[in-house]
């Protein structure tokens, strides 16, 4: 065999089939990095198997403890006590921090965590630090996650007795494309190559497709289409998907998601137990951290108990002179978390509307994730979906990682003689993608829930006479206000002098099956069939840390001088 050529991948290239193309297909492993828990699974040749760590755990806590010189994560670490995680030395909830800027409300909510989350509120990356020997030592969410992934990788390599490189990760629906690049960066830091990043409920959808395939022994394609709603709520995020499945093919019809989860419920509960808890703990002194850990554990415990009993007695001495002695019943619990539950409902309703399905159309309703044990969550899902049966025989904590392992096998080109891998998920874009035009308006080019791979284009024109440049500012999201959407990047395109409204600026967006987004732009002048200048092709996102102020800076620098408007189709 010839010596492998050295290839430099593009700076923005963090994902791609080509790099991993070796002669031997390696089965990619599936990883579910949850906000609070994590698991890893692989197709073992006949079925999906969850890998266990040395302490025989399939589900591991997602955290990294910084002690002395070597950090250690929840995969290998042996905790002396639960409180150790909350001692200031451990960083957790990475998934709620990664790729977010310090103006993000989710980052601000994380300031009450026992480690240090410092914000300057200017749209840059927040500063996070762990307490090591009474010193706040800085780190980054990416670094913490990478340390954790390295542990997972090492564990999987020991279990599988082979090097691990390719992975399929499940992620929240609401993750921005910038956040996805941060996750890819973490994986690269850990020596892992991302084969696919799957929205969590779509991984569950794939597992559902396989289960359906196994129970309905019918010929491919002849099985009738089943519409399922998948509701997945973990510690950090709540996601919903509607999928149409038949013959092992799962077509994602719609997705919705938001950064709400068990962490919000926990914080509400802590606030309920100790009304001024947040301000109390902002100081982050040693004793405050200790009290906070005690409160956190007590609140968590109470929430768990309230899932199986109508009320709970909370008795905790916070050690700083304040004692909590309170009975909390389920009604109170539901009351303090009303906003969270309302948000869950609105996500389900929106997802069903987007998929154009009614409750009666749903063949199955699947409820997974840690929060699925909360009675209120079960009731609200059952209420909207008008069903009593939401069990589905799936393990709520393992469904996503099993789906990721299936996708890992399918995307690695593994086949199964019994047809157990004759599966396919046809993904959809969770958010619209478009550009700024028509004043400060977000003009979507690819609408949300478009099947990918996808390619769409739209024609724009200039707003000024002899406008020789146009600024193409790309956003994703579905918010009416331009600035509330996620900025993905920007570039300029040159235009020959002409009266306003004459040049045609064609903007095309292409998403391939690996979810890589490319934006192409070209200028056409009347009477010429071809673009007057070379096309621009930009892989998005191009933005980097500290992008929170870029849009504003662009506006300050250019005003409306390089604006575009859409061209209406003449009928």
């Amino acid at each position: 065999m010839a010596e492998p050529a050295y290839t430099v991948t593009s700076d923005s290239e963090t994902n791609g089939e080509e790099k991993s193309s070796s002669a031997f297909p390696e089965t990619a492993i599936g990883i579910d990095i949850g906000t609070s828990q994590c698991s890893i699974a692989v197709w073992n040749g006949s079925q999906v198997e969850l890998l266990k760590n040395t302490r025989n755990q399939k589900i591991m806590r997602s955290y990294v403890t910084f002690k002395d010189e070597t950090p250690s994560g929840g995969v290998s670490n042996q905790l002396s006590h639960e409180h150790e995680i909350f001692s200031g030395a451990a960083i957790f909830n990475m998934k709620r921090l990664i790729g977010r800027v310090d103006t993000d409300p989710v980052v601000h909510a994380s300031k009450s965590l026992p480690f240090l989350v410092q914000t300057l509120d200017i749209g840059v990356r927040p500063f996070i630090a762990a307490l090591v020997n009474n010193v706040w030592r800085s780190t980054t969410p990416e670094e913490v996650l990478a340390i954790f992934l390295v542990e997972l990788r090492a564990m999987a390599e020991v279990r599988l007795k082979r090097p691990i490189r390719n992975v399929v990760l499940t992620l929240p629906v609401s993750f921005s494309r910038f956040q996805l690049t941060r996750i890819e960066r973490c994986c690269a830091m850990a020596g892992l190559h991302v084969l696919r990043l799957m929205p969590e409920p779509t991984a569950v959808a794939l597992l559902y497709a396989q289960q359906q395939q196994q129970t309905v022994h019918e010929n491919m394609g002849s099985g009738s289409e089943q519409i399922a709603l998948i509701f997945n709520m973990g510690a950090g995020y709540c996601d919903v998907a509607v999928t149409a499945t038949a013959g092992g093919v799962s077509q994602i019809k719609s997705l919705s998601g938001s950064a709400i989860g068990g962490e919000d419920i926990l914080q509400n509960m802590m606030r309920h137990l100790l009304p001024n808890s947040e301000s109390l703990f902002l100081k982050h002194g040693i004793s405050e951290i200790k009290s906070m850990a005690l409160l956190r554990v007590a609140a968590q415990d109470a929430i768990h108990k309230l899932s199986s009993q109508p009320s709970v007695q909370v008795d905790v001495d916070l050690g700083n002179g304040s004692k909590i002695c309170k009975v909390v019943d389920r009604e109170e619990f539901e009351e303090v978390n009303q906003k969270v539950f309302e948000k869950c409902e609105s996500l389900i309703i929106q997802c069903m509307q987007d998929a154009k399905v009614e409750a009666e159309d749903l063949s199955d309703v699947i409820l997974v994730g840690g929060c699925s044990y909360i009675p209120k969550i079960r009731n609200l899902v059952m209420g909207i979906c008008k069903t009593q049966d939401i069990s589905m025989g799936m393990n709520p904590l393992e469904a996503a990682v099993c789906g990721a392992a299936l996708e890992g096998a399918v995307a690695s080109g593994i086949s199964d003689p019994f047809g157990n891998l004759d599966l396919l998920t046809i993904q959809a874009t969770p958010m619209s993608i478009g550009i700024q035009a028509d004043g400060k308006t977000f003009v979507p080019i690819i609408q949300r829930n478009t099947t990918i791979p996808a390619r769409k284009e739209l024609v724009f024109t200039t707003v000024h006479d002899n406008q020789t440049e146009a600024l193409i500012v790309v956003y994703e999201g579905d918010e009416k206000k331009l600035e509330e959407n996620n900025l993905l990047g920007y570039f300029k395109i040159g235009i020959p002098p002409a009266p306003k409204g004459i040049p045609e600026i064609n903007v095309c967006m292409d998403i391939d099956a690996s979810n890589v987004l490319r934006v192409l732009a070209g200028v056409i002048m009347p009477g010429t069939p071809h673009p007057v200048t070379p096309l621009m092709e930009v892989r998005m996102p191009t933005i980097d840390d500290g992008h929170g102020w870029c849009a504003e800076a662009l506006h300050r620098a250019y005003g409306s001088t390089r604006d575009l408007v859409t061209v209406q189709k003449k009928i």
């Binding site: 013959g247 396919l424 028509d438 769409k456 189709k569 003449k570």
Partner: protein
């Protein structure tokens, strides 16, 4: 929104076949100035999706397959047959399952299949399409306003990294 556009076209324009489509009055000629003579109404951006590509010659797609042929089904296929055909084709053409060496072209192939499916699985769009197909025997690219993924593809596609030389006419 766009689908309402086509029936009126059918009635108003003289019958053309094959290569003459580019001349039909309803289809804006590529890069024609007339096409752009409009007041700018910002709210109407969604309708700006072009019906025709300016980059490829208008005749290139003239001998293409019908949506039914793309899915490999008869014109009388019912909704379930359409769905089954779509799934069957997705299973072989989707880039996730296609062989590594065809990943690029399979994305395009899949987009065509999906576009055909989304038109034919929607009763209203299918009725429009059938009417047009029946009357004109015209290749479906002139329906591109309906199945927008198809149109979009004809735009920049010649300039992307995909292999379009072998894939222009589907």
């Amino acid at each position: 929104m766009l689908s309402t556009y086509f029936p009126s076209v059918l009635h108003s324009s003289p019958p053309f076949t094959g290569k003459k489509i580019s001349g039909k009055p309803s289809s804006p000629a590529p890069a024609s100035v007339k096409f752009r003579s409009r007041p700018v109404v910002t709210a109407a951006y969604a309708s700006a999706e072009r019906t025709r590509s300016s980059y490829l010659g208008p005749n290139k797609m003239a001998s293409c397959l019908s949506l039914y042929e793309i899915l490999g089904i008869s014109m009388g296929a019912n909704n379930q047959e359409i769905k089954a055909a779509y799934r069957r084709l997705a299973r072989t053409s989707h880039p996730d399952v296609a062989a590594i060496d065809r990943k690029d072209s399979s994305a395009d192939a899949f987009m065509k299949i999906h576009a055909a499916y989304s038109t034919l699985s929607d009763p209203e769009k299918r009725a429009d399409y059938d009417r047009k197909l029946f009357r004109r025997h015209r290749p479906f690219e002139s329906f591109s306003g309906i199945s927008s993924p198809v149109t979009a593809m004809s735009g920049f596609s010649g300039y992307t990294r995909r292999n379009w030389e072998t894939d222009q006419c589907w």
